[in-house]
Symmetry: C2
Subunit: 671 residues, 2 copies
Amino acid sequence: MKAAKYIILVLILTCMFRAPRPVAAQGTSPMTPPSQLDLLPVPASVQMQAGRLPITGSFSVLVKNYADDRLRGGIARMLTQLAGRTVLAPTVVGALRGLETFLQLVQGDRNGYYLPGIRIQDQPRFPWRGLLIDVGRHYEPMEVLKRNLDAMAAVKLNVFHWHLTENQGFRVESKKLPKLHMLGSDGLFYTQDQVREIIAYARDRGIRVMPEFDIPGHSTSWLVGYPEIGSAPGPYKIERGAGIFEPALDPSRERTYKFLDTFLGEMAALFPDAYMHIGGDENEGKQWDRNPQIQAFMNAKGIKDNHALQAYFNQRVLKILQKHHKKMIGWEEILHPDLPKDAVIHSWRGPASLAEAAKKGYDGILSAGYYIDLIFPASQHYLADPIPQNSTLTTEEAKHILGGEATMWGEWVSPETIDSRIWPRTAAVAERLWSPRNVTDVDDMYRRLSVISRQLEELGLTHEKNYEMLLRRLAVSDDTAPLRTLASIVEPVKEYRRYQMRPQTMLSPLTGLVDAARPDSETARQFASNVDAFLSDAPRFALYRPDLEHTLAEWRTAGRALGPMIDRSPALQEARPLANNLSAIAAAGLEAMSYLAAGDTPTTEWRDAQLAKLDEAAKPKAALEFVVITSVRKLVIAAAELPQLRSTTPVEWKKRITTQAMPGDKLRGGP
Amino acid sequence: MKAAKYIILVLILTCMFRAPRPVAAQGTSPMTPPSQLDLLPVPASVQMQAGRLPITGSFSVLVKNYADDRLRGGIARMLTQLAGRTVLAPTVVGALRGLETFLQLVQGDRNGYYLPGIRIQDQPRFPWRGLLIDVGRHYEPMEVLKRNLDAMAAVKLNVFHWHLTENQGFRVESKKLPKLHMLGSDGLFYTQDQVREIIAYARDRGIRVMPEFDIPGHSTSWLVGYPEIGSAPGPYKIERGAGIFEPALDPSRERTYKFLDTFLGEMAALFPDAYMHIGGDENEGKQWDRNPQIQAFMNAKGIKDNHALQAYFNQRVLKILQKHHKKMIGWEEILHPDLPKDAVIHSWRGPASLAEAAKKGYDGILSAGYYIDLIFPASQHYLADPIPQNSTLTTEEAKHILGGEATMWGEWVSPETIDSRIWPRTAAVAERLWSPRNVTDVDDMYRRLSVISRQLEELGLTHEKNYEMLLRRLAVSDDTAPLRTLASIVEPVKEYRRYQMRPQTMLSPLTGLVDAARPDSETARQFASNVDAFLSDAPRFALYRPDLEHTLAEWRTAGRALGPMIDRSPALQEARPLANNLSAIAAAGLEAMSYLAAGDTPTTEWRDAQLAKLDEAAKPKAALEFVVITSVRKLVIAAAELPQLRSTTPVEWKKRITTQAMPGDKLRGGP
């Protein structure tokens, strides 16, 4: 890792504090406890100190012992975000990461903006903290990349993994092989000037840019212009579907390697990063199986299967990269006994394969667990660790684990929606890769995530503001209230089920309710927490009762109001069953609460009817699923089981309800 | 105007219609009345026809007799907005403007998307329909310009007037005189490549790009790098304040003209438009008065005053422009007996000066009445006409009136807020310049404006979505409800009062409540309309009563909730008096309504106390003013005047109330 341009920094931010203002000096000096700080990622060490530093109009930043254009740029950006409010501070601000920490430390109250008294010592746990953006399946304009680089810097990520080529698009200009981008991209590609602009923009923010050219599979778009390097005669067309496709480069012909030498050589000169990612994933070798010339080549060389053939290909590519002074990194499929030890393994299947590679002496990075395109909640990504607690790696072996990358695969994201798929959840991954391993408090992570989410918005990220925009477009109205209520408690279906339930092509609009809806529903999380508290308050059932009744009534109102809205909007037709489900969910919850409040026990018929309605509501529609079903089911079962409360403890009773509310069919009904 | 690249087009959009769907054929065929169409600007002629054309998955566009890259690009953009939904239509789509009309015609209901049966004949009333964006005072990034060009095309504007230089910034790269942009811009300028990119982007959308280089005043930023062409020795610094400043080019020295020849020649080659705007406004000549060398020059040449000196300067500049094959346009100050007739006059003071110029034989365009930076409502801009009803121009003279331009002066706009100052109000100006003079129904304009506003958002305009973002930042919370309620009924103070009330520099943050608040409050307009209807319903007082009570109660709730929110946010401290006013306004309105509902008459003391509170609330604070005061005042006065209702007609009674509610002090209390 010596050649990689990652930054390890030790930052000591010490401020001289002015005397507290009189109002704060009267024994009520506001001393912010560390647990209340909104830092993300959490630093390695934080000590609170007395006093506070007001940020007034005379703020300025003094840099001692160190100055370069990049740091000056970083300070200028920080001051812009601080919005002109400034403080005379005899401070050495050590580096860009520290500036981001500083920005997150700024607090405000009726006396103005201030910094808490604090001493922070910090360094990253892993040197490789990345975000992959797949611009192959859907092209993303320059400003999308730039604002995401801004966001990466804000949470201390330092590797932008630019997945530039896919079956569905070849997105980088090649001056030497121009049919690559001209025929393989629908005109949606980055010029070399634009690539340099992104690299400079990233560098200014302390971020490396590592390109990926995915070969030998995932290469349909290459073959549109150059079918002669494919394993079947062609002609080829840009792929419009989603999935795994057959086209693969021909590993048996010298012209393929000559072509790659030309292309990768050109890219090696364009991208200064020490690493080049060659993909290498998901090649099933079907074209190879059917090509007699390739089969003859394998026989002649004694290559026994497709995995070995790909290993041969990888070694040839490795030599090309070495010639151009690049280190090779590839998806874990490249792991093979013949793979040289200076290749880096990128794990997408799990930390076990990463550990296996580390034991063999390979450096590696983890993306399994960080597949943000699969719509899992931040909590799940947050607890995935490149070196899990039960790891059997020695200290030396563990050093091979360089870090990880969140992966934004591009099947179902447009420039309008991509931010909401990346943020704020990727901040949780960023914290996992930066902060000490024992920082694992999920509730506190979510608390800080919502603060950081707003700060990311200040940088221009659109994950919040495009939500309302998409809803307005669907509602054909400025009054989106009922649709927003529905959208707040549904999530897109997880993993790869969206495509199965609602097939689309890469040319389809990404403007449906499934595109507006977001992962990790905060409303559902809050509702679940309130229901749990309410049931724990047995037999009084007073805790959070007004909140819950208010929420359920809002769902009922929205369920009714959605009908006329859907009538007006062709794009919302698919949401009609969800609107009906919403009414049913609200009714079940409200009736259950009224039984509990009155101390009455409903009939078995009522219970069965409600659970049947909830089971129906739990089935995904329009590639969306309600994420409050388990909580409402708890209310229904609690009402039905009320008599049992008299013969058991509230704790036992609640446990019984919770068990029944979690059906064995793995329908995910709550976070 | 022969040389100007404006487009006059006659578009006939005729569709062959499929048989109506069975559901629509049962005598209930949906025939959209023209008044219900959401077109903006309104076409010259619309005839509704029977039937509707469903837009299904097989939609495509067939172009006959005409094809070029620009039209193909326009069709591709339209199809993207149509989001992949398509129809086989034996249609000739004649031009880009027609495509925009087509997009606005698409409607939807539960049976899907469709086009109404329609025949449209259309052409613009004026050939010059512009938007000025001042990037001098605040720089606007490329994407801001691009999205605004998209929006201009959507409402058929065809001139982007790029105000590139100001006292506060010189925003275009000069390769021949590089100190202009290097020392005059803080590094915030457009490279010549970027200028070409904007010109190409605009041209693809049928928009001319006319640059403005404002001279001899408004030129401080020029003089930072080249003080030798100034009228005082310097040194000069980039101006950070707002207002009119003294620096002016020296009209008495040949080196000034040599400099301008070099610079304008370079720009003439960069900008293909036939016109070049030389500004010429607001030069008070103070530097000239104090410069003995200039005074000596005037004596020698027999130039009697500064106006004549500027006329001399203009004629010299005109010759330079002619040499570089450009026509000159300037602000109306350039009008002078010696001004050649092929110069164009840009009026910012009013249509009278425009008419005067036309009578003298000058072409002219109007911006007076279209100063969108002054925060007046769309209705006001909408009714300003380049050729008013009472115009005394002959038909021949009227031909000199080429059109007009909305002007987005840049003192108080950032990339985050500029869209909300331009849109949707500029769409009303666009309609004035495109549609027949007799299209003046303000209510219908507002109805269509809200539809177009959402469509502009689809193009990437941020006027809607940044509103919530700015409120979230101020509230330091995702829950902005009470702040949104307050913001929905206040507007920034009008004209140039913002700077007087809340002085800032060009480096100050534009993130206050005054920046989040928007012109032309829709809530206030609706409230005013409901109050009028409610009072017309005397003595029953039932019409809109629940709506009004609901609204007033929401204000009361928000007034209470704002206190704790303001405590947490230093940036909201200035809003505290507004929060108190909000509570007072709500209480006055609710109490008045309860008197009216009960038929009780309040005491005179009550009336006086309420009116005093409303007078206090009507005073602007934080450069914001409530725009619902007049309506609430009407309610209070109506309650107090209830006895008079028995001795007069409801109409007379309401008139009496309205008169009393409009105070003579010109406090604008309602739209």
